[in-house]
């Protein structure tokens, strides 16, 4: 704020007063529902997950094998040239331990989340997913090898959660 300005507008409210209904206000929960189209590439990806495969798309111009697959290569700005399966193993590019849920509330059992560079795809083609079968999160290492643990075929629906989590390939 400039030292020339003496008054600073804004009437502060206390969170407690809002919570206890002491602040005149209107409450509303808009009803906003969606049916998101998976689109060309993601549909293939989801169908692949149902079959227990991770699907990638390929661009012949830049040579990338891309996960998640996309219908057009964003670097060459052209349609991709095809789809292929890659491995369901990978290495941990980065990871975190979350004690926070989507609505900012706290959770006791942390979610172990990671970006996993998928084997068979181009370098750095990471997928966001959860880590599991890890007793102590301090054991997680950058570059650790992990493998997807799938739901049994009859439980898969064509969703990112058809992979339950990625587990370490070695112990620890």
């Amino acid at each position: 704020m400039s030292e020339k300005i003496k008054h600073f507008p804004g009437e502060e409210l206390k969170a407690r007063d809002i919570r206890e209904g002491k602040v005149p206000a209107v409450k509303h929960r808009p009803r906003i529902r969606y049916l998101w189209s998976a689109g060309i590439a993601m549909s293939r990806f989801l169908e692949g997950l149902k079959k227990g495969k991770i699907v990638a798309s390929t661009c012949e111009k830049c040579g990338r094998i891309m996960v998640p697959p996309r219908a057009f290569c964003e670097e060459c700005f052209k349609s991709v040239d095809g789809y292929t399966s890659v491995k369901d193993t990978g290495t941990i590019n980065t990871w975190s331990v979350s004690y926070v849920a989507g609505d900012a509330s706290r959770i006791k059992e942390p979610i172990l989340v990671a970006v996993i560079d998928i084997d068979g795809a181009s370098k750095g083609m990471g997928l966001l997913h959860i880590l599991g079968e890890i007793d102590d999160w301090k054991q997680i290492k950058f570059g650790m090898q992990v493998k997807a643990v799938w739901k049994p075929p009859e439980e898969r629906t064509g969703a990112i959660t058809d992979i339950k989590y990625f587990k370490p390939l070695k112990e620890g």
Binding site: G10, V23, F45, T94, S96, V113, G124
Partner: protein, 388 residues
């Protein structure tokens, strides 16, 4: 010179930044806009165009928020547009305002940014999650903190940076904010306080993060001839830059924000800056998390890759250092009403270059200042360079 006319900032205004403010979004926009106009010595009829920057409608809970805020931004029956690039909005809005005047189409432009995040109850966290892809990310239970935590961890791993080094940024900025009259979280904390604070999403802890806030800010831009008539002290916009990267953030190496570098280089080229650390006298670098200040310092080429923590530890980025960073107190100290936060940084550079920042004034008569904002899924960089 880029553009037909040189553009100056001639007035600035802002409201308090607080977790909960009583004013509606319109009222907040009006307070900031009116203050900027009064400071510039202008009437509403002198404003020829208005640009509003405001982030997701989902925070205020009013769809088409740009339209909703328009009359509070003095845009009644005027050429008006809203820009929105996530957190990058606060600096991008001044870049967009610059186009209005530099093109020669308008002599004046009022640039406003507003956010009322408290409407999203009890916490805007859920609104943040809707940024993520609904099919391959949201079903995992994603929350926005994840993406920061993953990036912070990668940055630390790549350069071997420790949490203690990063915590120094939070300590510096919150202390700087004690001198900012609008600040939400000015405080005297220590590195230990940061390291002992609640683990949210390792390695992110509570005191590493800026708050959610309500607030608004505004600037008046004018062409050279108009500016010179109104003030002896115009602050020139000499560089603008902006850049976006792909939404496939898991396909990028998060240790370095390439898109910030692209935006910065665009602005440096325009401003004729060849050696940023030497030529920039003061910088407001986007700090929604403490590690972000370091990350962005490197992206802005103000520090070599991995070296920003050392500059911080050596005191270079303090107000009395060689390259003061976030003398305002940044988002960590002043608050983070998304779009208004970035514009607050622009206001700070304006006041610093005019010598009007009071207790926050950096020494040595700063002449060249930079403000930068970041947004979206680790995607957007927007930069503005000002000179007095």
């Amino acid at each position: 010179m880029f553009g037909k006319k040189r553009v100056a900032v001639i007035g600035a205004g802002m409201t308090l930044f607080r977790r909960n403010l009583k004013e509606t979004g319109k009222e907040l926009a009006w307070h900031a806009s009116k203050m900027a106009l009064d400071q510039a010595g202008l009437e509403p009829r002198d404003i020829q165009s208005v640009v509003m920057g405001t982030a997701p409608d989902a925070f205020d809970g009013v769809h088409m928020k740009g339209e909703y805020l328009a009359d509070g931004a003095g845009a009644w029956r005027k050429p008006y547009s809203r820009v929105f690039v996530g957190g990058g909005t606060g600096v991008f809005v001044i870049d967009a305002g610059w186009w209005h005047v530099a093109s020669g189409q308008f002599d004046t432009c009022l640039v406003v940014a507003e956010e009322k995040m408290s409407s999203c109850y009890p916490h805007p966290a859920y609104a943040f999650t809707t940024i993520f892809d609904p099919i391959y990310s949201r079903p995992l239970g994603v929350t926005l903190i994840w993406i920061f935590a993953l990036e912070m961890h990668r940055y630390m791993h790549r350069h071997g940076i420790k949490k203690e080094e990063i915590a120094l940024v939070s300590v510096k900025n919150k202390r700087n904010a004690l001198d900012h009259p609008c600040a939400q979280l000015g405080a005297n904390i220590t590195v230990e306080d940061v390291l002992n604070s609640e683990i949210m999403c390792w390695p992110v802890q509570r005191l590493d993060i800026s708050p959610t806030s309500d607030g608004a800010a505004a600037l008046v831009l004018a062409s050279e001839d108009v500016a010179k008539k109104l003030t002896d002290n115009p602050v020139w916009i000499d560089g603008t830059g902006w850049c976006i990267d792909t939404t496939f953030w898991t396909n990028r190496d998060l240790y370095y924000p390439k898109y910030v570098q692209c935006a910065a280089q665009m602005a440096y080229k325009m401003a004729g800056i060849k050696n940023p650390p030497k030529e920039i006298d003061v910088a407001e670098v986007y700090d929604p998390f403490d590690y972000k200040e370091l990350h962005h310092m490197e992206g802005l080429l103000l520090a070599r890759k991995g070296q920003a923590p050392k500059l911080t530890a050596d005191g270079v980025t303090q107000r009395d250092g060689d390259l003061p960073i976030n003398p305002s107190g940044g988002l960590l100290g002043v608050g983070n009403p998304i779009a208004a936060a970035g514009l607050m940084k622009c206001c700070e550079i304006f006041w610093q270059l005019r010598g009007e920042a009071g207790k926050r004034q950096v020494k040595g008569d700063p002449r060249t200042g930079l403000a930068q904002a970041w947004g979206d899924l680790m995607q957007y960089g927007s930069v503005v360079i000002m000179r007095s």
